[in-house]
């Protein structure tokens, strides 16, 4: 028994990248088993939704868009680190980012595949999902989302494949070795394509809420043909995505108890994210002020009208709409930390900044999905409140478990972090 286990360990270790140390196999199996169980729980809920319908959720006719759409927009926003880091590395030429680009791509791949899965669960007739392409309405922001999202996921696959092919054993096969090499050669083209597609699908996700002229809470003025939320969503994804990439990198380093990326690389990405966050927060504040003081008065509405609910989340604290303030602070505070060299180099401050930066996108997407649905429009209607069912929660946790599993597998068997060997000599 012991001999058989040792044999498996020996064989499995041959799949590890050269010159690095990995956790014992039993530990890895336990870890995978734990998250695999969570994944299976989510998969069970997913099949319940598919076979029994969306009555398994607590969504209703007021909450047609709920937890899933927030999760969808959220993971796409924080997954924006992939396209933006790719743009910086391959198009702008920020060379040090080559040491973190693999991980940014992996996180992006997880986020976008999760987003597509969530969408597949969220629609009432999953077998008709292809209608969005076949009967496309070019005026709809969701159509733009569907096309660009699908195409960009294709790009992410292309960006992730070379990493898979670099597995020690796979790389021994000449065709895979050459394929991987050639993919790297043309990666700039895919990075540029990915950035182009991301600009549109991140933006059109913002447009989903911004074009709702029947809902003054969401509606925003048009800039060219797009509402301002189009640009703000793209901007925030470019700002918050890298924050999430750094945050996940730091979490991975904490779990593996190893330094995986050099500080100068993280600081460069953090600096760029900081400036993006700073400019985003200025744009967001201007947009909010214009909405509050120019657009809402046209409907005889006041910004505080949207925060009059008794529930904690859409209420005022001390007369202040706290969620709106928190949303803006989550862009301003990390921006101030990350644009200063001292702030970036201070480890706890960096962690706080990238955490808040990630939250910035997640809170913004929450507000632009769930609060849009909650606030009443007809004067005689009241706030609609909603709490997700366990099936919704399980299917929302599913992508997290899936992400942990894929990161764990990739980290164990693929050379995700090029600096790992140098930073952790065996």
């Amino acid at each position: 028994m012991e001999a058989a286990y040792q044999k498996i360990v020996r064989l499995e270790s041959q799949l590890h990248p050269l010159g690095v140390q990995r956790a014992p196999l039993w530990q890895f199996v336990l870890w995978m088993g734990f998250f695999g169980t969570i994944l299976l729980w989510g998969v069970y809920a997913m099949f319940l939704c598919w076979f029994k319908g969306l009555n398994q959720t607590n969504m209703n006719d007021s909450y047609g868009f709920a937890l899933w759409i927030w999760a969808d927009l959220g993971v796409i926003a924080v997954g924006g680190g992939a396209f933006f880091t790719g743009l910086l590395r391959y198009v702008v030429g920020k060379d040090p980012l080559k040491y973190i680009i693999n991980y940014a791509v992996l996180i992006g791949f997880i986020c976008y595949s999760s987003a597509l899965l969530i969408l597949a669960i969220d629609i009432g007739q999953p077998l008709r999902g292809w209608f969005i392409f076949w009967h496309a309405n070019v005026h709809s922001m969701l159509t733009e989302v569907a096309f660009c999202l699908s195409c960009y996921f294709g790009v992410l696959c292309i960006e992730y494949i070379p990493l898979v092919l670099e597995n020690r054993k796979i790389d021994e096969v000449p065709i895979f070795h050459h394929t991987s090499h050639n993919f790297h050669e043309v990666m700039a083209i895919f990075a540029a394509t990915g950035a182009f597609l991301s600009f549109f699908h991140q933006g059109s996700l913002g447009g989903v809420a911004g074009v709702l002229y029947g809902r003054p809470f969401a509606y925003r003025p048009e800039f060219f043909i797009w509402p301002t939320t189009f640009f703000l969503f793209t901007w925030s994804a470019a700002a918050c995505g890298p924050c999430f990439t750094i945050l996940v990198t730091k979490i991975t380093e904490a779990i593996t108890r190893k330094k995986l990326v050099k500080d100068n690389v993280v600081e460069l990405l953090a600096k760029i994210a900081g400036w993006m966050l700073l400019t985003y927060s200025i744009a967001k504040i201007i947009d909010t002020l214009y909405w509050a003081f120019v657009m809402l008065p046209k409907h005889n509405l006041h910004v505080l009208d949207f925060f009059t609910n008794q529930s904690l989340i859409y209420s005022k604290l001390g007369g202040v709409p706290w969620i709106l303030v928190v949303e803006i602070l989550c862009s301003v505070i990390p921006a101030v930390i990350l644009v200063t060299k001292k702030g970036r180099q201070n480890k706890p401050a960096l962690i706080v900044a990238v955490f808040l930066g990630s939250m910035c996108a997640l809170i913004n997407r929450w507000v632009m999905v769930l609060q849009v649905m909650a606030v009443p429009v007809l004067t005689f209607e009241t706030f609609a409140l909603y709490f997700p069912s366990w099936q919704e929660l399980a299917t929302t946790i599913l992508p997290v478990a899936y992400g942990v599993l894929l990161i764990s597998l990739s980290h164990r068997y693929l050379p995700v972090f090029p600096q790992e060997r140098e930073l952790n000599p065996v």
């Binding site: 629609i123 008709r128 999902g129 002229y213 029947g214 005889n300 509405l301 429009v377």
Partner: protein
């Protein structure tokens, strides 16, 4: 020839129709006959428990409004709310829901002004529901079911909807098709009384008037243009629409001589003490 945008602008064609409704809120007693007629006419499924109005389907829904005052100043108003068949900004057909549907499963007819729903094309993304400020769109959260005997009473003119798609009031479009077939066969124009919605005909108080808002001979035209022939219905009141300030251009007009009711319908003239939905109602 494709239909051009805007009512009555179809080149070489007679001006298009624009079917709409005028609902006299001072006449409505809140009996709910319009809701029942609508459900029966349009094969709307039921659930054993319909108390939760957030997940039950009511194409025509009657809201019970209160002026929020205590006795003896308390007043109640019943407000029937079908789909508004919005013309959208500039009345050009870009209804809030039509423009957002990613699969063109809901469409605006420049010939009738009616917003249609193509059930077999809808894949249930529910974006249209989020876009509609009137909550006039409903999702089939469950498989449609009727008590066994009621299946025999389903209308053959209206397709039943499957689980996972959105549906809404169609202004009884099948009645329009039926009336148009006959008018075409008899080589004549459609008469006003030939195409009436089920709710209009079921209202015992005669609170609903339905017709072509573009046809000068139709009562809805006279009422909405405040012409003297409409005085019997208008009685000095000015027609208003729900949330007019949002530029959704609804085709359902309301009448009320009570100021607080008019203000309840229009956010732009909302007052400090808003009208409130009376939660004790049975609708």
């Amino acid at each position: 020839m494709t239909e051009t945008q805007g009512h009555g602008n179809q080149e070489g064609h007679a001006p298009g129709s624009k079917f709409g409704m005028v609902i006299d809120l001072d006449k409505c007693t809140g009996c709910g006959a319009c809701m029942v007629a609508c459900m029966a006419e349009n094969n709307v499924p039921t659930k054993p428990d319909e108390t939760n109005k957030l997940d039950t389907i009511t194409w025509m829904r009657v809201f019970k409004l209160s002026n929020g005052k205590a006795f003896p100043d308390a007043e109640t108003c019943y407000l029937p709310r079908p789909c508004m068949h919005c013309g959208g900004k500039h009345d050009a057909g870009h209804s809030p829901c039509v423009s957002v549907c990613p699969a063109t499963a809901t469409d605006y007819s420049y010939k009738t002004g009616i917003v249609s729903q193509i059930y077999t094309r809808c894949f249930g993304c529910r974006y249209c529901m989020g876009a509609c400020p009137y909550h006039a769109r409903y999702f089939n959260w469950w498989d449609p079911k009727w008590p066994a005997d009621m299946k025999n009473y389903l209308s053959p003119d209206v397709s039943v909807r499957m689980r996972g798609v959105v549906e809404k009031c169609s202004f009884c479009f099948h009645r329009y098709q039926r009336a148009m077939d006959l008018a075409y066969y008899e080589e004549r124009e459609l008469e006003e009384n030939e195409y009436q919605t089920a709710c209009t005909q079921a209202c015992p108080a005669g609170a609903i008037t339905f017709g072509d808002l573009n046809n000068e001979d139709h009562m809805v035209y006279k009422v909405t243009h405040e012409e003297s022939e409409g005085d019997e219905i208008l009685r000095g009141r000015t027609p208003f629409r729900l949330l007019e300030e949002l530029e959704t251009n609804p085709k359902v007009y309301y009448l009320s001589g009570r100021d607080w009711v008019v203000k309840a319908g229009n956010a732009s003239v909302r007052e400090e003490a808003k009208a409130v939905k009376d939660t004790g109602g049975h609708h």
